[in-house]
C-alpha cells in the first residue's frame, strides 16, 4: 500500500491489466479522437493501431531490460544508479511534472465536458473540486486501491464503450471511411508517432514494475492491455467516422458524447448520454488517480520520503490550480494538443528508454570489469 519501505504494494496481474486498459482507453472520452481525426481524416482509425504496435515493441524491450537487470527497481532507483542522486531527482521531477500537467489538463477538459453537457448551470469550480477530491481520495488509497477499482469498473466500461458504438449502428455509413488512407500513409504514420503518448504503458511499467505480484506475467499484462485498449480505440474511432464525416470529426472535442447523443433505438432508448456519465466518471477518476499517484510516488522516491501520502493533498491542490489557470477550455485543448499530446512521447517513451539503456550499458560494463578482475 505504501512504499514506506515496509513492503511494496503487490497487485495481481488481472487488476494491473485492467488499470492499464482504463488508463489508455479513457482517451476515447477526451480530445484524442479529435486530434487523430484532424491528422488522418478517414484513416484516423489506423493511428491507434500504429501507436499500439510501437508501444508494444517498446514495452517488450523495457520489460526485458528491467526483468534481466533491474528486478524490483523502479525508474527513479535505476536513475539513481546511473546518474546519481541529483540526476534521479531531475528525472523524477520531469516525470512528476508531466503527470501533474496531464492531471490538470484532463481535469479541466473533463469538468468542462461535464458542465457543457449535463450540468450547464453548475459552477465549474464546484464540479472540478468534487472531481479532484474523488481523484485525490483514490490516489491516497494507493496503487492497490486504484487497480482494484479499475478491475471492478472495467466490465462496465467495456460494455458501455462497445454499447455506445453498437447502438449507433443505424447511423453507420461505411463509405465515410473512404478513401482508405485518408490524408496519406506518411501523415497517418507521423500522426501515430506524434500522438502515441496516450499509450503511457511504457512509462507506467517502469514505475509499477516492483508492484506487480508476479513479474513473470508482466509481458502478458502489457500485451493484453495494449491490444485491448487499441481495439477499443479503433472501434470507437471507426464508429465515430462511420457516423460523422471526417472533415467534421476533427473539429469536435467530445466524440463519445456526440455518438451517445445520436442513439435512437425506438422511442424509449434515445438520448442516453446522461447514462454514460457513469462511464466517463469512473474511467476519468481511475486515470487521473494513476497520474496523481505516479506524481506523488515519484516525488517521494526522488526525495527519499518515507511515504508518498502527505504529498497527495498538495498535488491535488496544485493540479486543480493549474487546471483552472487557463481562461477557457480552448486554451487547455490547445496546450494539451501542442505540448502534452504532441511532445509527450519524449517523456513517455524516449526518457524511460534512454535511462534504461544507460543503466543496461552501465551494468554490462560493470559485469565485464568484474569478469576481467576475476
Amino acid at each position: 500500500m505504501s512504499q514506506s519501505g515496509k513492503r511494496n504494494a503487490k497487485v495481481p496481474a488481472a487488476e494491473m491489466t485492467a488499470m492499464l486498459i482504463i488508463f489508455v482507453a479513457t482517451n476515447a472520452f477526451l480530445t484524442y479522437p479529435r486530434y487523430i481525426s484532424f491528422s488522418a481524416y478517414e484513416a484516423a482509425w489506423m493511428e491507434p493501431i500504429f501507436s499500439g504496435a510501437l508501444t508494444l515493441v517498446l514495452f517488450y524491450l523495457v520489460e526485458w531490460i528491467m526483468r534481466k537487470y533491474f528486478q524490483n527497481l523502479d525508474i527513479v532507483e535505476i536513475a539513481k544508479e546511473v546518474f546519481g542522486r541529483f540526476g534521479a531527482i531531475f528525472i523524477a521531477l520531469v516525470f512528476a511534472l508531466y503527470f501533474l500537467c496531464s492531471t490538470a489538463a484532463v481535469m479541466r477538459e473533463f469538468t468542462e465536458n461535464v458542465v457543457s453537457t449535463v450540468l450547464p448551470s453548475t459552477p465549474l469550480l464546484l464540479v472540478g473540486a468534487v472531481f479532484m477530491f474523488a481523484v485525490g481520495y483514490i490516489a491516497y488509497a494507493g496503487i492497490e486501491g486504484i487497480c482494484r477499482t479499475a478491475f471492478i469498473f472495467l466490465p462496465i466500461l467495456l460494455v458501455g464503450l462497445v454499447g455506445v458504438c453498437l447502438m449507433t449502428v443505424n447511423w453507420w455509413r461505411p463509405y465515410l471511411l473512404l478513401p482508405l488512407w485518408g490524408t496519406g500513409p506518411v501523415r497517418v504514420f507521423m500522426g501515430a508517432m506524434q500522438y502515441s503518448s496516450i499509450f503511457a504503458n511504457v512509462l507506467l511499467l517502469t514505475i509499477i514494475f516492483p508492484h506487480v505480484n508476479n513479474p513473470k506475467k508482466m509481458r502478458r499484462i502489457g500485451a493484453v492491455s495494449i491490444i485491448v485498449s487499441t481495439l477499443l480505440l479503433v472501434f470507437l474511432v471507426l464508429s465515430y467516422h462511420m457516423v460523422f464525416p471526417a472533415a467534421e470529426t476533427g473539429k469536435t472535442s467530445f466524440a463519445l458524447y456526440r455518438l451517445a447523443r445520436m442513439i435512437h433505438m425506438g422511442p424509449f432508448f434515445q438520448r442516453l448520454e446522461s447514462i454514460f456519465i457513469f462511464l466517463w466518471v469512473t474511467a476519468a477518476t481511475v486515470r487521473m488517480a494513476v497520474t496523481m499517484w505516479g506524481s506523488a510516488y515519484l516525488l517521494a522516491k526522488a526525495f527519499s520520503w518515507p511515504t508518498y501520502r502527505p504529498a497527495v493533498p498538495a498535488i491535488v491542490l496544485l493540479s486543480f490550480s493549474l487546471g483552472m489557470w487557463p481562461q477557457n477550455w480552448m486554451d487547455v485543448i490547445e496546450f494539451d494538443g501542442t505540448y502534452l499530446l504532441k511532445w509527450g512521447w519524449i517523456v513517455v517513451f524516449a526518457v524511460p528508454v534512454a535511462v534504461l539503456l544507460s543503466g543496461w550499458i552501465k551494468r554490462s560494463r560493470q559485469r565485464h570489469r568484474r569478469v576481467r578482475h576475476v
Binding site: 487488476e15 474523488a134 481520495y137 494507493g142 434515445q270 446522461s274 456519465i277 466518471v281
Partner: protein, 599 residues
C-alpha cells in the same frame, strides 16, 4: 373551605423555595454518610470505579492525548486490581471461614439471589461432617440440587471413618451429578457459582466440588426471525449458550470441530466461544480471533452486537465487517468452508469472521435451490440492493438534471403528476423517506397488541392522504415504496441498515450534482470498500483482489463443480470435494476423459 382558601392565599404570599428541592438527586457518594447510618458494613471489595477524568474537577491542566490515555488506562487497571484486592485464591479449610468469605464477597444478606444451604453429611456415630451448597437462585435446576447433591449426601451416605472424609471419595461414590469438577481456587468457585453451577463446600476440605446444575428459563429453539427461508431448516439460535453450540455440532458432527471458551469482562464475565475446525481453518485466523477477543478490556459485554464492535477492523464504518446469523445451518456450512464462528454469552446470534461483501448477500437457501433459480434470486437481490441504494437519488437526478433522457410521454407524465406539488423534488423525496423510516422504526417498537395500526396509519398517510393533499406526487410514492421493498430483500440486517443510511448520501449527491455526483460518490465508496479488510481478508475478495473459487459470488456456482474452498481464507485444506463428484454419471466420466463413459 375557609382553610382551603386561607392555605392557598398563604402559599401565594409566602416565599417557599422547598418546591425547588427534589426528593432525591444522584450525586457522588464520596462524602456519603448514609451507609454508616443504616449500618451497612463497608466491604473490603467495595471499589469506587469513578476515575479521575469523570470527576468534575475544573482545575485540570491540559495534557497530551497520549498521556491522557495512559493515565486513563492506569486508573482503570488500578480500579480493577483494587476490586480483586484482598482476595485470597485458596479455599478455606474451615467451613465457617468459607461462609464468612462468601457472605462478604456476594454481599449477603442484602443479596437474596445467592443461596447458601448448610447440611450435615450422613456419618455413623462420629463427629458431624458439615457442608454447604452454594448456588444462584434462578440459574439452577433445583431437582439436580435436591436429588443429585443433597439427598445422596444427607440421606443415603453412611460414612464410618476419617479416611473417607475426603472430597475425592464424595465425588467418586456419593454425588451422582452427570458433570462434576474438583476445584482448588476461590476464583473458580465464584466463576462456577455465577455461571449456574452448584458448588459444594465440605468442612476440613481445601477443595470444592462443582456440580453442573444449570437450569434457567430460556426460550426454546424456534423459527428464525430475520433469516427466513422456504427451503432449508427452520430452527434458529436461542438465548442459551450451550444450546446454540449444540445446534451447530448437531449438524457438523466432526471430531475436529473445536469450541474454545473464553471469558470476557472485568465486572461480570461473559462466555465467548470460538468455534472452528482444527486442521482446516487457517491457524493464523484462529490466533487473530483469539487475540482480539482476549485483548478486550471492558467491564461487561452484553451481546454479540457489542463484541463485534470490539473486534471489527473498522467499527466506525457503516458497512459491517462480520457476518451475523441466527441460523445454525449457515454457521455449520461456513465452518466447513474454513471460517471461524463466535458465540457470545446467551446471544441468539453467532458472529462469523472474516466476511466479504458477497457473503452478506447470500442466504442459506441459495445452495438448496437448483443452480438457475439460485442464480436468479441472487440476481434479484443484487438489483434490489442497487435499487435500495440509488433509486431515490436517480429519481432526483433525472427530474432535476437529466430530463432529456426520458421519453417525452414519461416526462410529461412526471411533470403532470408534480404539477400540484409545492415542494422541490428533493424536499418531496426527503419527506417521503422520513415517513418510511418512521413507519419502519415504529413497526419495530410498537407494542404487538396495537401492531396492525401501523399498517393502516402508514398506508393512509403515505399511500393516499399525502397524494390527495398534493404534498407528494403519485410517482414518488411508487419510487419510495419500491425502494423500501428493495431494501427488505437484503438478507443481512446490518447491511440493510447501512444501505438505508447510505441512500441518503446518494440522494443528496443526486440533488446537488445529478448523475455526476452519484457516480463520483459511488466510485469513492467502491474504493473505500476495496481497501477495507475483515480479519486480514480484503472485503471485496475474491473479486478485487481476484482470487480463486470465485464461481459462487454473484451467481450461484454449481455445487458439483465448486471443488475448492475460497482461496482468500487460505485454509489448510483447499479441496472440499473430489474433482469428480458424480462418478456414477457417464457424462461426468466422459467430461473427465475416462474412456467412453460406460461403467
Amino acid at each position: 373551605m375557609n382553610v382551603g382558601v386561607g392555605g392557598a392565599l398563604k402559599r401565594l404570599l409566602t416565599v417557599d423555595d422547598t418546591i425547588l428541592n427534589d426528593d432525591f438527586s444522584l450525586t457522588s457518594d464520596d462524602d456519603d454518610q448514609e451507609a454508616a447510618k443504616y449500618g451497612d458494613e463497608p466491604n473490603v471489595e467495595s471499589v469506587n470505579f469513578t476515575t479521575a477524568e469523570n470527576k468534575m474537577d475544573t482545575a485540570k491542566k491540559p495534557v497530551s492525548m497520549r498521556a491522557f490515555l495512559r493515565r486513563a488506562e492506569r486508573e482503570y487497571e488500578e480500579a480493577v486490581e483494587k476490586a480483586h484486592a484482598g482476595q485470597q485464591d485458596h479455599i478455606e479449610l474451615d467451613l465457617d471461614d468459607m461462609k464468612r468469605r462468601l457472605s462478604r464477597f456476594f454481599h449477603l444478606p442484602q443479596n437474596k439471589d445467592i443461596v447458601i444451604r448448610e447440611f450435615v453429611v450422613g456419618v455413623e456415630g462420629r463427629a458431624p461432617w458439615r457442608g454447604m451448597v452454594v448456588y444462584v437462585d434462578g440459574l439452577v435446576d433445583k431437582n439436580v440440587i435436591n436429588w443429585a447433591i443433597l439427598e445422596p449426601l444427607m440421606v443415603w451416605s453412611h460414612l464410618a471413618d476419617d479416611p473417607k472424609r475426603v472430597l475425592t471419595y464424595v465425588v467418586d461414590h456419593l454425588v451422582p451429578g452427570h458433570q462434576t469438577q474438583l476445584i482448588e481456587k476461590w476464583s473458580e468457585a465464584v466463576f462456577n457459582i455465577l455461571a449456574g453451577s452448584t458448588v459444594v463446600f465440605l468442612d476440613r476440605c481445601d477443595a470444592a466440588l462443582v456440580v453442573e446444575s444449570k437450569g434457567w428459563e430460556h426460550r426454546s429453539v424456534s423459527t428464525p426471525k430475520m433469516e427466513n427461508v422456504v427451503r432449508g431448516s427452520q430452527d434458529a439460535f436461542t438465548e442459551n449458550f450451550r444450546t446454540n453450540t449444540g445446534l451447530v455440532r448437531m449438524r457438523l458432527r466432526s471430531e475436529h470441530l473445536v469450541t474454545e471458551i473464553h471469558a470476557v469482562g472485568n465486572l461480570a464475565k461473559t462466555d465467548v466461544a470460538i468455534m472452528y475446525i482444527h486442521g482446516l481453518t487457517n491457524p493464523k485466523l484462529v490466533k487473530e480471533v483469539r487475540r482480539r477477543i482476549s485483548d478486550i478490556d471492558v467491564d461487561y459485554v452484553l451481546d454479540a452486537g457489542m463484541l463485534e464492535q470490539f473486534i471489527e477492523d473498522r467499527p466506525s464504518m457503516i458497512i459491517p465487517q462480520v457476518l451475523v446469523t441466527e441460523r445454525p445451518d449457515r454457521v455449520a456450512a461456513m465452518l466447513a468452508e474454513g471460517y471461524v464462528a463466535i458465540f457470545v454469552g446467551h446471544s441468539p446470534v453467532a458472529i462469523i469472521v472474516p466476511v466479504v461483501l458477497w457473503s452478506l448477500m447470500h442466504t442459506s437457501e441459495d445452495t438448496n435451490l437448483r443452480i438457475i433459480p439460485g442464480t436468479f434470486i441472487r440476481a434479484i437481490r443484487w438489483v434490489a440492493l442497487l435499487t435500495a441504494l440509488l433509486l431515490p437519488g436517480l429519481y432526483i437526478a433525472v427530474t432535476n438534471y437529466h430530463s432529456e433522457m426520458l421519453p417525452t410521454d414519461l416526462m410529461l407524465a412526471i411533470a403532470g403528476s408534480r404539477e400540484q406539488v409545492p415542494f422541490p423534488v428533493v424536499v418531496e423525496v426527503l419527506l417521503m423517506e422520513f415517513a418510511i423510516e418512521l413507519i419502519r422504526e415504529a413497526g419495530i417498537r410498537i407494542p404487538s397488541v396495537i401492531g396492525p395500526t401501523i399498517g393502516i396509519v402508514g398506508a393512509l398517510i403515505i399511500g393516499q392522504s399525502a397524494v390527495q393533499a398534493g404534498i407528494v406526487s403519485p410517482l414518488l410514492v411508487i419510487v419510495v415504496a419500491t425502494t423500501a421493498l428493495a431494501s427488505f430483500t437484503v438478507p443481512s440486517y446490518e447491511l440493510s441498515m447501512a444501505i438505508r443510511i447510505l441512500r441518503f448520501a446518494f440522494l443528496i449527491a443526486g440533488a446537488v450534482l445529478g448523475f455526476y455526483g452519484i457516480a463520483i460518490l459511488f466510485v469513492v465508496y467502491i474504493v473505500r470498500l476495496s481497501m477495507l479488510k475483515s480479519f486480514g481478508v480484503p472485503f471485496l475478495s475474491p473479486v478485487a483482489p481476484i482470487s480463486g473459487a470465485a464461481r459462487d459470488v454473484l451467481v450461484r456456482g454449481p455445487i458439483w463443480g465448486m471443488n475448492n474452498r475460497p482461496a482468500f481464507l487460505n485454509t489448510l485444506r483447499s479441496w472440499r470435494q473430489n474433482p469428480m463428484t458424480r462418478p456414477w454419471s457417464a457424462t461426468t466420466r466422459r467430461e473427465a476423459g475416462e474412456g467412453d463413459g460406460n461403467a
